[in-house]
């Protein structure tokens, strides 16, 4: 399959940066990389290989904060999840918004809901709760409790 060869070339290029690769099926791959290499990897996917950035999903798990950056190679129907695991106490990662505008809003949203800090983001203001939410309270974290739960 063509998608397998795309992933193979990608893996060969970033051998030392990739921690784990999972092939779900021929059109779905999950590649875990070192967080500090994200910009390099995204540059390769977006600028050289013509991948489209779909969205990013943050997750709060026992391992800390995880982000799946979903990239799509539309001509092949391939969805490639670039997966990073961030530090539990100080989650931060380089922003992709200086490369493409598509990640601007979702990074603001993840910052607001999970408290993940995106370094060098052009404007990391609140996207959803502008003006009516407390600072430093992140509602999508697992340890968040609403008033009714407390």
């Amino acid at each position: 399959m063509k998608t397998d060869s795309i992933i193979k070339i990608f893996k060969e290029k970033f051998t030392s940066d990739i921690l784990e690769t999972i092939r779900k099926n021929e059109r779905r791959f999950i590649v875990t990389i070192k967080p500090e290499t994200l910009v390099k990897v995204a540059e390769y996917l977006y600028l050289s290989e013509g991948f489209r950035f779909i969205i990013a999903s943050a997750i709060h798990t026992k391992r800390g904060f995880e982000i799946h950056y979903h990239f799509s190679k539309d001509s092949e129907g391939l969805v490639l999840n670039i997966h990073v695991i961030l530090d539990r106490n100080n989650p931060e990662i380089e922003s992709l918004s200086n490369m493409f505008n598509a990640s601007n809003w979702i990074e603001r949203e993840m910052h607001e809901l999970f408290g993940i800090n995106f370094l060098n983001h052009p404007n990391q203001d609140k996207l959803i709760s502008e003006g009516n939410w407390a600072e430093g309270v992140y509602p999508y974290r697992k340890d968040f409790k609403s008033i009714t739960e407390e």
Binding site: K24, I54, D74, L78, F100, N104, I106
Partner: protein, 401 residues
């Protein structure tokens, strides 16, 4: 000293179709900057989803949007079925595609109507919405609901389309097709609509790639992406159809793409109905015992573009994490490119051009003066100014003839 009184209309007001707020910063007639304010109606559906069972989540995500209420269950079903590793029966696939395409037709008709209204062509508005009505009747016949159809479940659909309904669907589709011809002719051949929409709100190919725009917004700029073709699901690989694109990237190109897409949708439905007749009645679900641990990336092509659902399952009966990306989330951001430099009268139709469906944010367009920062115009006045421009153009064109 004179005092100005400001009467705010919105965020919630019966005048507005959906809640939203655009701040247009203008210098004279020209839009200099645009800002978008959201969050007035954030429902935290992703978080709510974590407290519901997989069966319940379908009803929850259906309520994200009233117009494309089947695209979200569609993408969610694709995501969960990817985790389970199951494929629905062919009959269920056909039914899913029929519902998806009927929704595309009614959504595009709704957009054509609204676009006509923003241009001051209320006849187009009345026509489009009148012809949309039989489609909603079809939904009522098939699913029992005119909106929020509750048709999807993991592994199939909830209701079958029996033989006698197929005949009725064919008859109504035929009527809708002839009315669509009428409407397409009226829109595509009208010199005033050409004058109002050509070269207005242009989005280049590079803008589309930069903002990762999807759906008709991308296809009107020559970026031929369509999940139904690229990452085939349901019955789309089983039928013949083509992806409609245009090159210009302006509002007219977006209208063209949507109008021609309706014909493709009608053709897809007709082929799906023929496919349904070959399958055994009642064979609409695959039994699923449990949802294992895993990750699912579900996609579906909504009328406005790609809907994306990311589901993380921990093996329990509800998602551990559910991320939803609606198409307008990326399409709205393109206003920064398409609106700036337009006149205020053209900004209205440019905003409407991407068919913004806010999945409930806030709807209200407000014009601010770029120098003083004062509010000078509200949404209704914006629509009025756009309508006046059409009347003027109409008069000029008629004088030339």
């Amino acid at each position: 000293m004179s005092r100005k009184t400001l009467i705010p209309i919105g965020p919630y007001h019966p005048l507005q179709e959906e809640p939203e707020l655009f701040k247009l910063y203008c210098d004279g007639e020209i839009v200099k900057d645009i800002q978008w304010v959201t969050g007035y109606n954030h429902r935290s559906i992703e978080k709510l989803s974590e407290s519901k069972t997989y069966e319940q989540v379908f009803f929850l995500v259906e309520r994200i949007c009233g117009i494309c209420s089947t695209s979200h269950p569609f993408a969610f079903a694709n995501a969960v079925e990817e985790i389970v590793g199951v494929e629905p029966t062919d009959r269920a696939k056909y039914i899913r595609s029929i519902i998806g395409e009927l929704e595309r037709i009614h959504s595009h008709l709704l957009w054509v109507g609204l676009a006509g209204h923003f241009l001051g062509y209320n006849t187009v508005f009345m026509w489009a919405w009148k012809y949309r009505e039989p489609i909603l009747d079809l939904f009522e016949m098939i699913t029992g609901n005119r909106n929020s159809y509750a048709m999807f479940k993991v592994g199939g659909v909830r209701r079958d389309i029996e033989g006698h309904k197929i005949t009725a669907i064919r008859k109504i589709l035929g009527e809708v097709k002839s009315k669509t011809d009428l409407l397409t002719g009226a829109v595509m051949d009208d010199p005033v609509i050409h004058a109002r929409t050509k070269g207005v709100g242009v989005l280049t190919r590079q803008d589309v790639i930069d903002y990762a725009a999807v759906g008709p917004t991308a296809r009107a700029s020559g970026v031929a992406i369509d999940v139904r073709k690229d990452d085939p699901y349901a019955a789309y690989p089983l039928v013949n159809w083509k992806v409609i694109t245009a090159e210009a990237g302006d509002v007219f190109a977006k209208a063209e793409v949507r109008l021609l897409e309706m014909y493709e949708s009608i053709s897809i439905i007709e082929q799906c109905l023929a496919g349904l007749e070959k399958e055994k009645e009642g064979d609409i679900t695959v039994k699923i015992k449990e949802i294992p641990e895993g990750i699912g990336n579900g996609r579906a092509e909504a009328p406005r573009g790609e809907v994306f659902h990311f589901v993380l399952s921990d093996g329990s009966n509800s998602p551990a994490r559910h991320k939803i990306r609606a198409p307008s989330y990326v399409n709205i951001a393109t206003f920064k490119k398409s609106c700036i430099g337009q006149t205020i009268a053209d900004a209205t139709i440019t905003l409407a051009g991407v068919d913004p469906c806010y999945c409930c944010t806030e709807r209200m367009a407000v014009v601010y003066d770029a120098n003083s920062g004062k509010k000078i115009m509200n949404a209704q006045e914006l629509i009025d100014i756009s309508a006046r421009r059409t009347i003027e153009l109409n008069r000029n064109i008629r004088n030339q003839i």
